[in-house]
Amino acid sequence: MVYTKRSDGRKMDEIRPIRAQVGIVPNADGSALFATGNTIAIATVYGPKELHPANKRKPDRAMIRCEYNMLPFSVSERAKPGQNRRSKEIGMITENALSAVVDLRRFPQSVIDVQILIIQADAGTRCAGINAAAMALAHAGIVMKEMIASVSIGKIDDKIVTDLTKEEEDWSEGEGATDIPFSLTSNTKECVHLQLDGRISTKKFKEVIDAAIKSCDKIFEIQKRALKGEIIDENKKDKK
């Protein structure tokens, strides 16, 4: 079977309907929700604050401490709560991506705590997590040079497809599925995070980059609107 049509009727380069909002956790210094389709992520930011234990402090800059977790009910098979190999990895890549834009020298020896929770998972959770975390950081008034947006680009059979769902990620016919989570900065379009799961040719990869830049631009626009106080829900708009 050749892959010609997506099961949810989207175009090949279309992202799922997005939901975005900031300030969902009033206690935190900054917080945000970001959802694409059935994937929902929330992120909170606390700090910069004093880092304990003191021996972990960096003398010349602040530290970002990022924690990613999936809620037990976020997937159909109960996810065991707490850190595991996968969540540690995603926490680390998020940390690295965010460190590229945050001005860490402003508050040496302190720590910025970023917590990401996946409420519901349907592929692309790390991308939703990074999008939510970037919004939460901005909302927390942290000095950063630009925003970050993240999207997962995939190759199903030989087609380049944007923002995969779990169903598409598990495609096994033809050339199979390749999943490439991609994070970009808003102004300079620098790549701050890139992973690749599967196989892809160099030529196709260039198409992936173009698709990522295009989708990220749309996400930046949504992040901007959400941070300016709008409650975005593209699902509702479609229904009307």
Binding site: D29, G30, G47, P48, K49, E50, R57, P59, A62, V101, D103, F107, P108, Q109, S110, A138, H139, A140, G141, I142, V143, M144, K145, E146, M147, T185, S186, N187, Q223, K224, L227, K228, G229
Partner: protein
């Protein structure tokens, strides 16, 4: 002496009408050769780019951002309220919020201290009105050797967004004096967003609610009238 202090904090002349818009990090505020980057902005090619979430303000040629969220950034000369969090031989560790711990050395206490009973002067949980002497990398030095500083007995502490403090105080202390007079509560506002309240239980609550109202609606106009209305209810 109180008045003097209030003026110092409220000199943020927020009442002047200027064009302000909410910007996010990385957003281009204005383009063109005529503008200069101010607080939290950067010049990239011909554009002035925001580096922080907040209200962008163009005054003359300078473009700056007024923060609306985030933790307290200690600066020399800030009047803050601190809670004693630890005691050691050389002084008191204070919680003033913000990214670093703060320290009040014994030498900055205005009176003679017997080193054997430091706890009697200030124990853990005690509240002080303090001034920031200086900010070193990773720590904040405090002092009590100024007029109007000292221990705040009884009362309780509420914490608000420190960027709303100028709003709470109002022009030359107009707002805070309004709340003080109408509720008969003693109020002390620290620039770190810690507010100390002392009065009758009901009045204290009324004062807190008024402060929360200001915090919530800090962007709206005619706030003094709104608060006055609320207090007379």
């Amino acid at each position: 002496m109180e008045e003097e202090r209030l003026e110092e904090i409220s000199d943020n002349n927020f009442d002047e009408k200027t064009d302000r818009k909410l910007v996010i990090p990385g957003e281009i505020i204005v383009s063109g050769e005529d503008y200069l980057p101010g607080d939290f902005t950067k010049k990239e090619l011909n554009n002035i780019v925001a580096n922080r979430y907040g209200l962008a303000e163009i005054r003359g040629r300078v473009v700056k951002i007024i923060p609306v969220s985030g933790v307290f950034e200690p600066r020399r000369g800030n009047n803050v309220i601190g809670i004693v969090s630890d005691i050691n031989f050389s002084g008191w560790r204070m919680d003033i919020g913000g990214p670093w711990g703060a320290f009040l050395p014994l030498s900055e206490y205005p009176k003679f201290i017997n080193r054997n009973n430091i706890e009697e002067i200030a124990n853990i949980g005690d509240v002080f009105s303090l001034k920031i002497l200086g900010v070193k990398r990773g720590s904040v030095d405090l002092t009590l050797k100024f007029r109007g500083l000292g221990k705040l007995e009884d009362g309780r502490i509420i914490k608000i967004n420190c960027h709303k403090v100028p709003r709470i105080i109002g022009k030359e202390g107009s707002m805070i004096n309004l709340i003080k007079n109408k509720t008969g509560t003693d109020i002390m506002v620290g620039q770190n967003g810690f507010i100390w309240l002392k009065g009758e239980f009901e009045n204290e609550r009324k004062a807190e609610e008024a402060i929360r109202l200001i915090e919530r609606e800090s962007a709206s106009e005619g706030l003094t009238n709104k608060v006055e209305e609320f207090l007379e209810k």
